[in-house]
Symmetry: C2
Subunit: 340 residues, 2 copies
């Protein structure tokens, strides 16, 4: 698999590409299946339908890897937190964590309940072409903890940041619980057939430098090293979003570093390119225009020279993007990456 070879830093004939949120609302085929499921959470819970949407971008766009269709919040949900997806608002935990008792009540056997995820992975892997990779994933402890404390998406992170500074012990206990659950969750994803795993730290940018390393990165590395110990051949991708000022502090045993669009690719290469394979980082809104795709892709390919690089967007695909432009991007990366 070219994607897995690239994750391991091997030279590949062209730069492989996949796109965050490649199975999403910009595809009418996705919308049809989601309609069938009734709602988003049902879709996550239904392995047959989740398999279908996971495979769609492979067929439609020709990307080199499929990523499990699921949601990062199924983990806290199976740890016992009631979860709602409210239309036009997003996810919500009606009863966010508040007390130490709430922490004690979290179900540490959650990874055993996420059977629908492993079932989806088995179904996808059995239908996916042999040369295409399947990526499993999880949210990072910090990102999940943020949702569990705030109860919903937030602009200010006021509750969780207050907790960091006023009661760090509580945060660390929660983060360790999440870390322990996630380790088993990823192991089970790999055992079900995932060829690589990615940890999304979507809220990394909410933390200042020291607190990022203390409350987020440390736990991500713990998870990565646990996986690398148990399955050394399975690539681990870490994606902390929006930490361009902290690159010189990045450490740990993992394979691929996800570069978001706000981190200049030259800067990522300078700090991390020798130690890690880089994945990224086209600004998704460039997909509104072929000219913007051309100039953006040229810049990235020229910088990375088809070495130790996996192409991706620097953030998730947007719902109103044109699928033809997405296909144009995939073809361009495949055709042009060996020229630089």
């Amino acid at each position: 698999m070219i994607f897995i070879d690239a994750c391991k830093g091997k030279k590949t004939p062209y730069t492989p590409i996949w796109m965050m949120r490649q199975a999403g609302r910009y595809l009418s085929e996705y919308m049809a299946v989601r309609e069938q499921a009734g709602n988003f959470l049902n879709l996550c819970h239904n392995p047959q339908l989740a398999k279908e949407v996971t495979l769609q971008p492979i067929d439609i766009l020709g990307v080199d890897a499929a990523i499990l269709f699921s949601d990062i919040l199924v983990v806290p949900n199976e740890m016992g937190m009631e979860l709602e997806f409210i239309k036009g608002f997003g996810p919500k935990f009606p009863k966010p964590l508040e007390t130490y008792e709430d922490l004690e009540n979290l179900d540490m056997s959650a990874s055993e309940k996420l059977t629908y995820v492993y079932e989806t992975i088995k179904l996808v892997r059995s239908e996916l072409a042999e040369d295409k990779a399947l990526i499993g994933f999880t949210g990072s402890p910090w990102t999940l903890a943020t949702y569990m404390i705030e109860g919903q998406g937030t602009k200010t992170y006021a509750k969780v940041k207050k907790l960091i500074y006023s009661n760090p012990d509580y945060m660390h206990k929660l983060l360790q619980k999440l870390t322990d659950v996630i380790k088993e969750y990823l192991v089970k994803q790999i055992e079900a057939g995932a060829d690589a795993v990615q940890v999304f730290d979507s809220w990394a940018s909410a933390l200042e430098r020291d607190t990022f390393f203390e409350f987020s990165w440390k736990y991500m590395v713990e998870i990565a090293e646990f996986i690398k110990e148990k399955y050394p051949e399975t690539p681990v991708i870490l994606f902390p979003k929006g930490v361009s000022g902290y690159l010189d502090g990045i450490y740990g045993n993992f394979d691929v570093f996800g570069v978001d669009w706000s981190t200049p690719i030259e800067l990522a290469k300078e700090h991390l390119g020798e130690k890690y394979v880089l994945q990224g980082h086209l600004q998704p809104t460039r997909l509104y225009s072929k000219d913007a795709i051309d100039s953006g892709v040229d810049h990235i390919l020229k910088t990375m020279k088809n070495e130790r690089h996996i192409f991706n967007l620097g953030h998730g695909m947007l719902p109103d993007l044109d699928r033809n432009n997405a296909k144009y991007l995939v073809d361009k990366v495949h055709n042009d990456s060996s020229k630089f």
Copy 2:
């Protein structure tokens, strides 16, 4: 004025401090005046009341500079765009810009209509102690343009980014118009009595590196250099939020660079500390705890050593912060900054 001396890079007996959004909802005195005004926009339009809230943090906290109480959106408002502040939602332009005709209809004499701002400045300056500075301000062209295109705050910036890539000509025309209005607006603020001016680029972090320099920074520098040409003695502060990955590209003739909390202060010092005075950058949520204030302040003071530095928060004050902690912060900076 110690604040102005510090802006010019002169050695000062201690590090001066002010706080973004220091006149705000965390002060009951502010809430009382706002109540009196009826609503937020009325408060901006009423020089007598705006003066009162501008002066409150000087009296209550002992900060070294007052910042004009106003809102960045009064500029597009006076350029002819209807503006609403909706409770629990924020600002809204019910008729965002869409066509070239909309651009043509923008009132380029807006700076002449912002008389309530200049009146506020005159009133504040006449009552403010001689050793305290008064800072005037504006939003950056890019940040104002974002609101004018999106019509409201946004998480994805989808409309304005689509425009950047699909019709850059439109964006540049809009940005130039804003730049021209803002130049005159700041000149008039200085002529009314502002001792320094700050340009807030709150949405800088929405742009990837190249587009940041093309669509935002270029215009901020044009404004700064216009002011420095006309009033060389008036310090100009530029604050692009969330650009820690782009610091090596910062250029232009201005005095002070505002460092947000996500940019490590060491990194800012390394790239910009010799050329510019740095202002910043305590994470506002640290004000939830005295311990967090202590460790954060120590770190910043130790790095900057009371040289070429103005203390500030790395983002605006939050509504639920404790004023006693704000006062504690001001006193600590005043007392400790000469020790390092």
